[in-house]
């Protein structure tokens, strides 16, 4: 394998690089198709995205999340730094816990969302979709913190689905079943430390495994050896996309525009407008966007991000949303037929004051049958809960399947 380094002067010779699990992925990727996720090769589907999706809902699916942007944040002011950065109260994320968070600019517009891992007292990992080092360094002014982007130094593997706990137990990770949702534990693994968090992007039982890249291949091997009896499969990004929409999770640059790259200022969104008001804690005296968000809370938001349950079965990708009087009130940002919920589902942005739970709308769907295009106006209803939210997601210890 080529050993060109991302930071070497010769990096341009390859536009994209094999990740730490590459040799294993390559053997299993019978489609021989690769996509790019920043600097890394990523697999859209190893053989069949439907099969991979169902592995995630029925057994165990494994996804390489190494390319996710990761930062290590430490130093005496790590907590106050993070607390000024994100809208939620980070003090409530205790050591050994993970918290979902969103961060805004001064105008209260979302820059990105991600997860904060409180690994050990005062030692944090921040995972995000977009690169954040510029904003983090801007935020560092006045704080005694160390911030290092360590994306390339940590390999990440998501092990998701109803048999995922059984797989990890069989691997010999003693006590892994005791990790509660959003919990973290550490294990000795082949002479190094394996970090396991009960987190994921599937809305189901699942874990994420973090290890130094030198141990990535052996980790993969151990996971798959243990998984053999538990119907394990590798999963590509296409299947993951289906899982996250069912779970009602939003995706940057898909369901909202990150403020740092939005040219048209009005095209950004606040946490309230993304349905993330629960992450905004005004009991904190200060965080980026606090003043603007207080004003928004008083005066109302411009948009709402809603989950739609749509009639009919044709996916509503890129559809316009209308109210019952045919007035255009928004558009769909993510959509699919949900194989698990057996519903036609979508995430959509609608203008205020629309978007209340139970509100009826119409979605204009274009669909094609044997190259002939048709258009229907399908009725849709705003729903409150995720389209897929099984009890096993929260059960500790989880069952074996």
């Amino acid at each position: 394998m080529r050993t060109v380094h991302y930071h070497s002067r010769e990096h341009y010779r390859d536009k994209v690089f094999p990740g730490p699990f590459y040799s294993r992925q390559k053997a299993l990727n019978v489609n021989r198709e690769w996509s790019r996720w920043y600097d890394y090769l990523s697999v859209p589907a190893y053989s069949c995205s439907t099969t991979e999706y169902f592995a995630g809902r029925n057994a165990c699916a494994v996804f390489d999340l190494t390319p996710m942007t990761k930062h290590r944040i430490g130093g005496p002011d790590a907590l106050p730094f993070l607390n000024r950065l994100v809208t939620r109260d980070v003090a409530r994320i205790k050591p050994g816990r993970v918290g979902y968070a969103v961060w805004c600019n001064d105008e209260g517009q979302v820059i990105d969302d991600g997860t904060i891992f409180h690994l050990r007292e005062g030692d944090y990992r921040l995972c995000s979709q977009e690169h954040q080092i510029d904003w983090l360094m801007i935020n560092a002014l006045g704080f005694d913190v160390t911030i290092v982007e360590d994306t390339h130094d940590v390999a990440g593997l998501a092990v998701q689905g109803p048999t995922s706990c059984a797989v990890l137990k069989r691997m010999g990770l003693a006590g892994v079943e005791n990790i509660t949702p959003f919990g973290i534990d550490f294990f000795d693994f082949e002479g190094t430390e394996l970090t396991v968090s009960r987190t994921g992007y599937t809305g189901d039982l699942g874990y994420e495994l973090w290890i130094d890249p030198g141990h990535a291949e052996i980790l993969w091997d151990r996971v798959f050896e243990a998984g053999e009896l538990h119907n394990i499969r590798p999963m590509g990004s296409d299947a993951l996309e289906m899982l996250r929409i069912e779970a009602g999770f939003i995706l940057a640059a898909e369901d909202f525009m990150p403020a740092m790259q939005t040219v048209r200022p009005s095209h950004t969104r606040s946490p309230f407008e993304l349905g993330l008001g629960w992450l905004v804690d005004f009991n904190k005296p200060l965080f980026n966007g606090r003043k603007a968000l207080l004003t928004e809370k008083e005066n109302g938001s411009r948009y709402a991000l809603v989950k739609l349950d749509i009639e009919d079965n044709k996916p509503a990708n890129h559809s316009y949303v209308f109210d019952m009087k045919e007035k255009n009130i928004g558009w769909v940002t993510s959509a699919m037929w949900s194989p698990s919920a057996k519903k036609n589902i979508a995430l959509a942005t609608v203008e205020a004051p629309h978007g209340k739970v139970g509100e009826e709308m119409q979605v204009e769907i274009y669909y094609q049958r044997e190259l002939k295009w048709s258009r229907i106006m399908a009725r849709a209803k705003v729903v409150k809960d995720a389209f897929w939210d099984p009890p096993r997601r929260r059960q500790t210890p989880p069952a074996d399947y």
């Binding site: 000024r84 001064d106 801007i138 002014l141 704080f143 005296p285 200060l286 980026n288 966007g289 003043k291």
Partner: protein
């Protein structure tokens, strides 16, 4: 709470802090001023620099002090007195072909230049009126639909329209460009152009060929542009302001440096002094420069990050050094009538000279042949020095705050090049010197606690002016932190011992701080 009964703390007894204190006290508030130094005045003080020799240690001429403030606070009755007003400007020439001017009246140039001067002065005064008309206004916010903001902008548009078609066009043409091009269009005499060009660059990180220098000149002329010498030095102005403030009931504590601004939840609630004493107040007003206020006294960690980033981006590169000479006798400037030595003497013999002096500053070097603005106050105000002795005070530039290699290594060499420059215009002056002091921007920074040692607290540039001064979001004197206001030269309309920032801040606090 009843209007006019709040407890208000003011950080810094610089002239803007004192003006703000006076107006707030006049409105009935309980005002307490904390000053780090042992005397009031900030950068407008008189102090001894050699035994028996006193000098205005930073600012040395009054030319922008708002006449309204002088009158409203009745500074004359509080001790403000001028040793002389209406100083002429002499542009010195090594050969002795000096150019003297005062208003439209020019001496030592061609008839064509005389006429050009009349037209230039008329135009510049007219345009400076537009700038000056904004001094006593709280800047409007843009992009809002708030009535007061829109009215304020309509007023500005009306004032520009009122210039008449030709002058309006000319104003819109030159307001943003460089003074070199404007002067080259009009004049031929080098010394005249040099001195007028200097007006566009004094106190800034601009050369005469840098765009924005016309704006700086207009700013300088915006309160009439008459040079005045306060009797007893600049400290007299500050003392008068302090007396006025006290007369309205303000308390002024000197030698009590503020350590930090206290916060309770999301609100400023008072100050902690260096002594450790914590004192609460309803409002805190900072006369310190914006970087000191927000990044040191408050701390970036107490601000939203975007705002803190903007504050950290404010350009505060000071570039003027201050020379103080104790002289045994009056220096003899080649070819200059001794009677004229008391005027405002400038060393800026040509635009090219000024520009070359500036070139060094761009690269973190000091000028090899600096430009200077000189005053010998003892000729009109003998009390500043022992009998028969004199004081020379000069602004010298460019001396960039961030000097390659640092100031401690270069201080002596720079002083030498300043003295050599003086010697060329006043042969023998070096031998008249009994004592000398040169304050670099670094010295000014530490003595007067001004970040960057910058006259205006923040570079006076179009992108840091009006509703963008010091940064958008706090240009109306109110800061993003509830209970904290700013009133220093870093705010609109800038420094220059004008007092307008202090008065505007007081007005904004009285009108907008709510009840």
């Amino acid at each position: 709470m009843i209007r006019g009964s709040r407890s208000i703390q003011i950080i810094g007894a610089g002239h803007n802090g004192l003006v703000c204190a006076a107006y707030l006290a006049r409105a009935g508030h309980q005002v307490t001023v904390f000053e780090a130094s042992s005397q009031v005045g900030g950068a407008a003080i008189t102090r001894e620099f050699a035994p028996g020799f006193k000098v205005s240690a930073a600012a040395h001429l009054v030319y922008m002090l708002d006449p309204g403030i002088e009158k409203e606070l009745d500074l004359a009755s509080h001790g403000l007195e001028y040793a002389r007003t209406g100083l002429q400007t002499i542009s010195l020439s090594e050969a002795g072909d000096h150019v003297r001017f005062n208003g439209d009246d020019v001496d030592g140039v061609s008839e064509g230049d005389r006429e050009a001067m009349r037209e230039y002065r008329r135009k510049m005064q007219h345009f400076a009126g537009i700038i000056g008309g904004l001094h006593n206004r709280v800047p409007a916010r843009l992009g809002t639909t708030d009535r007061p903001d829109l009215l304020e902008l309509a007023r500005l548009a009306f004032n520009i329209r009122r210039l008449g078609k030709n002058d309006m066009r000319e104003f819109l043409r030159i307001a943003g460009i460089n003074i070199y091009d404007v002067l080259q269009e009009l004049f031929e005499n080098d010394a005249l152009k040099g001195a007028l060009g200097l007006d566009g660059t004094l106190g800034t990180m601009l050369g005469t060929r840098s765009n924005n220098s016309v704006f700086c000149a207009l700013h300088r002329y915006s309160n009439g542009g008459r040079y005045q010498l306060p009797k007893g030095g600049m400290g007299t102005v500050s003392n008068a302001l302090a007396n006025a403030a006290r007369a309205f009931g303000a308390e002024i504590h000197t030698a009590r440096p503020v350590n930090r601004i206290l916060m309770d939840f999301d609100r400023a609630t008072g100050v902690e002094l260096q002594s450790g004493e914590q004192i609460e107040a309803d409002l805190v007003v900072s006369g310190a420069d914006p970087k000191t206020t927000f990044l040191k006294l408050l701390g970036a960690q107490n601000l939203e990050a975007g705002f803190a980033h903007k504050i950290s981006n404010i350009r505060t590169r000071g570039n003027v050094a201050k020379l103080h000479l104790a002289l045994g006798s009056v220096p003899d400037f080649t070819g200059l009538d001794p009677a004229l030595s008391a005027e405002r003497l400038v060393i800026a013999p040509s635009l090219q000279y000024v520009e070359q002096a500036f070139n060094h500053a761009k690269y973190g070097e000091h000028s090899r042949r600096p430009v200077m603005e000189i005053s010998i106050p003892t000729l009109d105000d003998p009390g500043l020095a022992p009998a028969g002795k004199h004081v020379l005070s000069a602004n010298v530039q460019w001396a960039p705050r961030e000097l390659k290699g640092g100031w401690s290594a270069a201080h002596e060499a720079f002083t030498e090049s300043v003295m050599n420059t003086l010697e060329r215009f006043a042969p023998g002056i070096c031998s008249q010197v009994m004592h000398r002091e040169l304050l670099t921007p670094q010295d000014i920074e530490s003595e007067f606690r001004i970040e960057g040692g910058h006259w205006h607290h923040a570079e006076l540039a179009l992108d840091q002016s009006m509703m963008m001064r010091p940064v958008p979001g706090t240009a109306q004197y109110k800061t993003p932190v509830d209970g904290l206001w700013i009133c220093g030269a870093g705010c609109h309309p800038g420094g220059g011992v004008m007092g307008s920032a202090g008065r505007n801040a007081a007005r904004a606090i009285i009108e907008r701080s709510g009840t």
